[in-house]
């Protein structure tokens, strides 16, 4: 048929196929599983893939590569690349299917779990075994180990950061309005209402990111139903549509309805939210210890670090959880390729485990899950306070989406805008997530 001159009909058909196929082509083009081109016994470089949004890891490892780890770097040079956080799952899926994973890489939470795509294919290094063999396992803080294991189901990530989360507040604004640090949820809501009347943004969050709001739902659940409440949803013994879970979503929806997040919460981005707090326009913000980098920077922090207080997410009256259970996370999963592991990679891991904790604290004021082997002096007071909490914490809780699959996580974070703007009821929100969870089973 190709040899006869094209008739109008075939020409038109061709045009149609071209137009229609364009979208489908994108898909299938990327679905090519490729050949195994990797190979080789060991890596030729300490290739590193980190999230573009988090510059701390890459820059600190670069610093180490010219300092304490320069010998390791000479043997196996550091080769650092970044990927946008939103593209991590896609990139890792493709790299892994083409046998082209870097030595150490960021991966999606669901991917590194034992039943995840990377986990079940045995692509990930077990840090506990490896670091024990290398004799540096003691350099990882036990709290960080427990957080990583409870999220990922195994020691498949290094705690390059160890974050605890809570509410940072403006001491001056609280004092000026006669507010004591709230101990219960009701006190918190009352305080925020007072602050709203005073004309400031009571509680600012990066609403367009979604997670800062879902964190509040999760924390409410943990305070009300106890630290294992989300595990119960995961194993099916409870449902998000149960009234006690819906109650948590309703509590956060009420904050939105009362305007306690300020105007334009659903499109507010991280920089704007941070700036609101740091300039004194907002009285409080729920955030993680990574926010210390901004708080300790006088150029950004106009209200002064001494004016910033830090409190835990408050208790819920009659709840089974309590405010001593700090929400904690260990950053995005940073896994090492089992296949590319060799003695030189081992040397790098030893060097990182020994030196990273002190180095990142000294250079960037960041709290990590590594032991501080070299004492760090001149720690800013607020950082010291949070470091103290990390060291003393006996029990931590995860976050709302920690045990959810990728789709449920995304739906939780995108639809929460509808929840706090009142376009979606708490019942519908939780029902949507529960149906996602059921679909993923």
């Amino acid at each position: 048929m190709f040899l006869t001159p094209p008739t109008r009909r075939t020409r038109r058909l061709t045009t149609l196929v071209v137009a229609a196929g364009a979208t489908a082509a994108l898909l299938a083009g990327c679905a090519d599983s490729g050949g195994s081109t990797g190979g080789g016994d060991s890596a030729t470089a300490f290739s590193l893939l980190t999230p573009a949004e988090n510059k701390v890891i890459a820059s600190e490892l670069t610093t180490l590569s010219t300092g304490q780890c320069s010998a390791e770097n000479t043997a196996l040079p550091l080769d650092s690349q970044t990927v946008a956080q939103a593209d991590v799952v896609q990139k890792i899926t493709l790299l892994a299917s083409q046998d082209a994973l870097p030595v150490q890489f960021v991966a999606g939470t669901a991917q590194v779990k034992p039943d995840g795509d990377l986990g079940k294919n045995g692509l990930l290094l077990d840090y506990e075994k490896t670091l024990t063999d290398l004799g540096v396992w003691d350099d990882i803080l036990p709290a960080a180990v427990s957080t990583i294991k409870s999220v990922y189901g195994g020691m498949v990530s290094l705690p390059y950061q160890y974050n605890i989360e809570g509410i940072f507040y403006n001491k001056q604004l609280f004092a000026a309005n006669g507010i004591q640090e709230p101990k219960t949820w009701d006190e918190l809501v009352a305080a925020l209402t007072t602050l709203k009347a005073a004309g400031v943004v009571p509680l600012t969050e990066a609403g367009n990111q979604g997670w800062p709001i879902t964190r509040l739902i999760g924390n409410y659940i943990f305070r009300d139903l106890g630290p294992d409440a989300m595990k119960a949803v995961k194993d099916g013994s409870a449902k998000l549509t149960d009234p006690e879970y819906v109650k948590a979503a309703q509590a956060i929806a009420d904050l939105g309805a009362a305007g306690l997040f300020g105007e334009g919460i659903t499109s507010r981005d991280t920089d704007t939210a941070n700036a609101q707090f740091l300039s004194g326009q907002a009285a409080a913000t729920y955030n993680g210890s990574w926010f210390l980098a901004n708080l300790n920077d006088p150029a950004q922090n106009k209200i002064g670090a001494e004016n910033v207080g830090f409190m835990p997410f408050p208790n819920v009256a009659g709840g089974k959880g309590d405010s001593s259970q700090w929400p904690a996370n260990a950053g995005a999963a940073m896994a090492t390729s089992q296949k590319l592991y060799g003695p030189k990679v081992g040397d790098w891991l030893s060097c990182i485990a020994t030196n990273y904790g002190s180095a990142v604290m000294k250079d960037q004021g960041v709290i990590s899950g590594f032991k501080l082997n070299t004492p760090v002096e001149d720690v800013p007071p607020l950082t010291g306070e949070l470091q103290g909490i990390v060291n003393d914490a006996t029990q931590t809780v995860l976050w709302f989406e920690a045990l959810m699959d990728a789709k449920t996580t995304k739906d939780a974070q995108t639809n929460v805008a509808l929840l706090i703007s009142g376009s979606m009821s708490a019942q519908d929100y939780m029902a949507l997530l529960q149906s996602d969870l059921d679909q993923a089973k």
Binding site: F2, A20, G21, L27, G29, L94, N415
Partner: protein
């Protein structure tokens, strides 16, 4: 070489099937490899579950059953169609009105206006998305639209907190971006109408709307038709502007099929179901195009 000889050579070469094969072969091969093979591949994937890393399992028609039981998919389908219809109507009406303005009102002086109105079409779509996001912003970084609403006492609106608000902004944005393009496209069609025809119609007493209705529209029908197909197929496949504007949100309120497919494949690593969504979109485009062609062919024969 005399013209007749040249003509004969062309005839001889094109009469030779081998020559045609040599001439068309490479292009067809490339076309097949980068277009048809992936389409077929994607079609095949829609009967599987999984991704290249976790492996694929054959599940027959489960993905299609899932699609029609998936409220988000149905919503995305509905949004895609609604968006395409509204955008197509808007683009054609605005584009045609502008084209008429160029030809009959501004005449030879239309150069400048044409350029200005066309200008947004050359701005990268993502930039347009970000621009409109800022223009309609609310709160601390209030955009000019809300500032104006405040100034006239209507109070600002949080456009991106609701699906309807985002949809309105998305429509305004796309029309602003593309109306100049369609105006030029249709303008070229209007220029093809012979001046004598218009003149004689005028002598017969057809002026203004009457002239447009009975002479201009029928004579520019072919280019109008191409514009409709072009417009609807493009707007069915909208992706970048919506993503840049509000990420398909709030929630999945303004998520078209393309974005839902993208998320399903690349964020949720569900290649099979993503291919199914792509296939539905492909069929939709195909149906719409065939439908328009058919209805148009009837029109043309009637005239």
């Amino acid at each position: 070489m005399r013209p007749a000889e040249g003509h004969n050579t062309v005839h001889r070469v094109l009469g030779d099937k081998k020559a045609i094969l040599i001439l068309l072969g490479p292009a067809l091969l490339v076309y097949t490899l980068i277009k048809l093979v992936p389409v077929a591949w994607s079609f095949g994937l829609s009967f599987f579950d999984g991704n290249p890393l976790g492996g694929f399992t054959f599940i027959g028609f489960d993905n299609f059953v899932r699609f029609f039981n998936d409220p988000q998919a149905i919503h995305a389908l509905g949004f895609t169609v609604l968006y395409a219809v509204v955008i197509t109507i808007g683009q054609i009406l605005l584009g045609y009105a502008l084209a008429l303005l160029y030809v009959f009102v501004l005449k030879n002086a239309s150069n400048f206006v044409r350029t200005v109105v066309f200008f947004p079409a050359v701005i990268p779509t993502v930039a347009v998305g970000l621009l409109f996001r800022s223009m309609f912003a609310v709160g601390q970084n209030e955009g000019p639209v809300n500032a104006a609403l405040d100034a006239i006492g209507l109070g600002s609106v949080d456009w991106f907190a609701s699906g309807a608000g985002t949809f309105i902004v998305a429509i305004l944005m796309e029309l602003w971006r593309s109306m100049g393009f369609f105006a030029v496209l249709l303008y070229a069609g209007l220029l093809d109408i012979p001046e004598e025809t218009l003149e004689s119609a005028r002598l017969d007493g057809a002026t203004g709307l009457k002239l447009v209705r009975h002479i201009v529209i029928p004579l520019s029908l072919p280019v109008l038709l191409s514009s409709v197909i072009f417009s609807i197929n493009n707007s069915l496949k909208v992706f970048d502007t919506i993503l840049a504007l509000n990420g398909g949100g709030p929630g999945t309120e303004t998520t078209p099929l393309t974005l839902y497919m993208f998320n399903t494949v690349f964020s949720y690593s569900d290649y099979g179901y993503g291919s199914t969504i792509a296939l539905v979109l492909t069929i939709l485009c195909l149906l719409v195009t065939v439908f328009i062609f058919r209805s148009a062919r009837r029109d043309i024969t009637r005239n």
